[in-house]
Amino acid sequence: MKRVALSGNYAVAYAVKMADVDVIAAYPITPQTPIVEKLSEFVADGLLDAEYINVESEHSALSACIGSSLTGARTFTATSSQGLAYMHEVLFMASSLRTSIVMANVNRALSHPLNIWNDHSDAMAERDVGWIQFWVNSVQEAFDATIQAFKIAEEVLLPVMINLDGFILSHINEVLILPDEELVREFIPSKPLFNRLSPKLAYTIGVVGPPEYYYEMRYQIIDAIERSRKNINEVNREFGELFGRTYGNISTYMMEDADYALITMGAVSSTAKIVVDSLRKEGEKVGLISIRCFRPFPKNDIIEVFEDVKSIGVLDRALTPGGIGHPLFTEIVTTLYDSSKIIPVQSFVGGLGGRDITIDDFKQMYKIIKDVGLSGRRKPCIYIGLRE
């Protein structure tokens, strides 16, 4: 075990190296990340015995990953923003073909206007592709989630996307506890994985699915991702035993007696905790929920912590123009509907295209959440930090 200062990008690269992947396929140019740059170094320096395939686009990167994963090779790729968007149609194939690909997605905004900075537009546009989605709050979590992702993906035969906030996590150097490689291997041994493509067995994959079959094939994803909930919990428990750290599907902060809760996803959750601390000192009973597992959505975990809450705020960092609510807000409201609880939920949007979400922004959100709790009436979505 080593205590180091490392960026989110390199933390993921080290996790992938320690997972002893067999194949990495990546498009090497913008909007690519230093994750695959570091991995290509590992391979070139002989530190990682893997096939590194430089391809001509993200569409091809993920296509190569599908072929690789179907042969039973442990497979990884990374991308960001427009790169993820360019993978769109192949993302569906990766889940439908029940591959075990692990992908790190460094969350960045989509054009137009051209913007390289952080928000959640890229991954939210891909929420329905049948991938498991994790969202992390720190460089340590990015490392740990990557290790867990390989185990989950290989057990449930569904691809896993790890989302780490662009720049806020990808390009920050902070403390990382880097475990010994042997411990990581013990957690995810390098073993022959489920292999469907082999020269020894004539087989066709990715054929036409006429109306008689398509529906059932697609339903398999529903079945698999629902069943994955059990694996995700179990993998997290095993991870805790070996590494001494566990992460729930959600993480909660000061929720035990909270009257007013804010729900966030990704790195800003960390800043929000500071605001919870300072408001608690002023006597405000506020709490925070951070969603780590967005797909499958942890409905039951969330309902449990809502016991006596008076009002809730949801911070989205992506838009659903013309929808009833933005992506995370909609999930939370639907969760509440199923719980038969009536709690007003206030929608917020913030931090689009890299706009900083400040301490004052969070204070403002908590003030509004309290007002909504007292009046019992929510307002239309509030766009925090938007200039008029």
Binding site: V4, W117, F167, I172, N173, E174, D356, T358
Partner: protein, 188 residues
């Protein structure tokens, strides 16, 4: 918590300086963050980087608006008074310039301590190129004692290979020796 804002120009190694310092802090057992305000990167364009230092885990992930310390790697950036913006009362400024520190009082009215060093000249002497990031680290350490100079040496040895690490550490040491400090008697 101690917050540092670095000002430099693309190609001077501003982000690397912020990272070297953060790594040194972490190696001494504390917590640190190093990050940059990324923009369209190009040589010569103004670049901002940040380092946060704390005894405990750092949760804050916003940009730094009111730094305790400002470090300027390129004197020409002082022409725009933005380098002094938000500097906390009793803060510290460290500037690469051949002038004496008193000259900069109007740019950093809040500073209790101003340190100057001709980092460009030292970089050319010790490295052969005007990359001022390691030299300015020497001045920063002299003015603040944030980390031990030996810790920086070890980080440089990990980051750069062979003779380059040695040359860079020579720049750090030389700048440490040649730094001029104007002290009004502040907190740090």
């Amino acid at each position: 918590m101690l917050e540092i804002r670095w000002h430099g120009r693309g190609g001077q190694g501003v982000v690397t300086a912020a990272e070297i310092l953060a790594t040194a802090v972490v190696n001494e057992g504390k917590y640190a963050q190093a990050f940059a305000a990324f923009g369209p990167e190009r040589r010569g364009a103004p670049v901002l980087a940040f380092t946060r230092i704390n005894d405990n885990e750092i949760l804050l992930r916003t940009q730094i608006y009111e730094p305790d310390i400002v470090v300027v790697l390129d004197k020409s950036l002082c022409n725009d008074n933005g380098v002094g913006r938000g500097l906390k009362k009793n803060g510290i400024a460290v500037v690469n310039t051949s002038s004496s520190p008193e000259v900069l009082l109007n740019i950093f009215p809040n500073a209790s301590k101003i340190a100057t060093v001709d980092a460009t000249r030292i970089a050319i002497e010790k490295l052969g190129v005007p990359v001022t990031n390691t030299a300015i680290l020497g001045a920063l350490i002299r003015a603040t004692r944030i980390v031990k100079i030996e810790t920086i040496e070890n980080v440089l040895k990990e980051k750069f290979k062979g003779v380059l690490a040695e040359k860079n550490f020579n720049a750090v040491k030389e700048a440490y020796e040649r730094t001029l400090i104007f002290d009004r008697g502040g907190l740090l």
